[in-house]
Symmetry: C2
Subunit: 308 residues, 2 copies
């Protein structure tokens, strides 16, 4: 065996099931803990990204690392690790966890100011926290079969000029409140409006609506999702007209079909919105076409990076 193979053999299954990298060291995920004094926790001064692994292949790994770097830069963070080193860490984590289907997270957070230093984020070093765990869909198999039930909550999405949602973040207070409103309404998930009454995103997912055969997705107010980007590519391939623009609440709740998409779920068709049944109360035909194409292409290695 060559040196690389030997190293990989030594890593495989080292922290089987759930591996972490925290502030320069690898460890079992159960040992990865953040000091309560660190601003990553006590000021949610952190950005993150999540990349999926299916059948031993990352999906769009470099796109995720690129977005993660852009997020870090936007909030003035520069951890010691380069993009190439982050790539290597994520690879090792999947090997250590030894899972073929994984949910791989990369986070960069601030520590606390050194004693005596000015109490300013610029006085805090930034460090990485990464992990690999078995992939779990955010939808249950029941939701996957019947389609998800969505609703529009009263709570509004944090606006772009308060915090740019393209910087993937943990400030989920609006989304969490939306989840409680959804639960109270008997729905699975909330989709939040912005302050102009346009659709943005839900907790951890982007949305698309389909009306008269035209697919539409909000242009702003949410994350520039990488699964969303993949769906856009699929629309082009399948010849489905796509519009990236403002989507009003009225258009959204009256759409023929709706689907959501995310790393932790892929394409997830909806069957109800605000209690209204769409189609036959099951995932719509164009949504299913996109969902099937998404997974079929993934199985063929689309945008894949092999973990060796």
């Amino acid at each position: 065996m060559d040196a690389v193979t030997t190293e990989r053999t030594a890593l495989r299954g080292k922290y089987a099931g759930a591996a972490a990298y925290l502030d320069g060291s690898f460890m079992p995920l159960s040992e990865a803990k953040i000091p309560v004094t660190h601003w990553g926790y006590r000021r949610s001064d952190v950005t993150y990204d999540v990349v999926g692994v299916k059948d031993g292949r990352f999906f769009r790994l470099d796109d995720h690392i690129k977005r993660f770097r852009a997020s870090m830069t936007a909030i003035h963070m520069d951890p010691p690790e380069s993009d190439e080193e982050i790539r290597d860490i994520l690879m090792k984590l999947v090997l250590m966890a030894d899972v073929r289907d994984a949910y791989v997270s990369m986070e960069c957070l601030r520590a606390s100011p050194a004693p005596g230093a000015l109490r300013h984020p610029a006085s805090c070093r930034a460090y990485l926290s990464c992990s690999a765990v078995p992939w779990i869909s955010i939808v249950t198999s029941e939701m996957d079969m019947r389609g998800v039930h969505l609703m529009i909550p009263k709570v509004r999405k944090i606006p772009v000029d308060s915090f740019d949602p393209r910087v993937k973040n943990f400030m989920w207070g609006d989304l969490t409140e939306g989840m409680f409103e959804a639960k109270a309404a008997g729905a699975d998930f909330a989709v939040l409006l912005d302050h102009d009454g346009n659709v943005t995103e839900g907790p951890g997912f982007n949305v698309f609506s389909i009306t008269d055969g035209v697919v539409a997705t909000p242009i702003r107010g949410g994350l520039d999702g990488i699964t969303r980007k993949s769906v856009m590519e699929l629309c082009e391939e399948l010849g489905l007209p796509l519009e990236v623009r403002q989507v009003s609440e009225d258009e959204f709740v009256n759409a023929d079909e709706i689907f959501t998409c995310t790393t932790a779920g892929g394409v997830m068709p909806a069957s109800r919105i605000n209690g209204r049944i769409m189609g036959n109360d099951r995932p719509g035909p164009l949504s299913m076409k996109l969902k099937e194409a998404f997974w079929a292409k993934r199985a063929q290695g689309w945008h894949g990076t092999e973990i060796l």
Copy 2:
């Protein structure tokens, strides 16, 4: 010695300098760490409060615990500890840290859903994280002498209908960006506007402005601060007219005096706003009168609870 005295003697200085209570156990603060999988960190699903201790006395302890309970209730959290138990934990932490002037934090955060449970915050138990550390003012002694230099950043405060700022929270993305804008402008702190152009608050503090002898403070968009409430009481005692209402950017940046207030600083007069020098570039006279009255009354035990 009676039993209570014996217990207290055993506790005093047990974790000298910095003591913590995490998820049911006391420990040195350096050991208090949050699993990276917990939603308190990865969704900033947490609320907190901070009470000050000066000369061995808590300031408005029960007001802080009452507000903390209201915050927890607002975001559907119900940890195992009662208000009376929280009070006892905070007392013990100050004894363990053995500091006469302390900054005492109480936090309630969500863990992660049990395996197999729905990925919803309602599936996560809530637990407490509390600590006592030596009190540090957010202003340096230089800022205290010359008055703080404030500025209005471009970033806007997260609006009330996205997350209620009266629920004291760690979603500081807007405030953190404001701190970077302040640094770039050569100022000490940012004071954020809401989306209607009215003044809200800064990172961890409320604000007051004084124009023609009338004191004004924003009615919404920020925390209902307990030091703010104390300043209101002082205005009444000192016969200063006070108005709680919307304060526009224009009024604020043209005020005769401005001061900020917080648990970790008390009353902190400003001397500059957006580069404009107020008065003689030193804390204004009415601001100083309120500051002196605040600390004089604190020294006399105002709203104090003795730590025995």
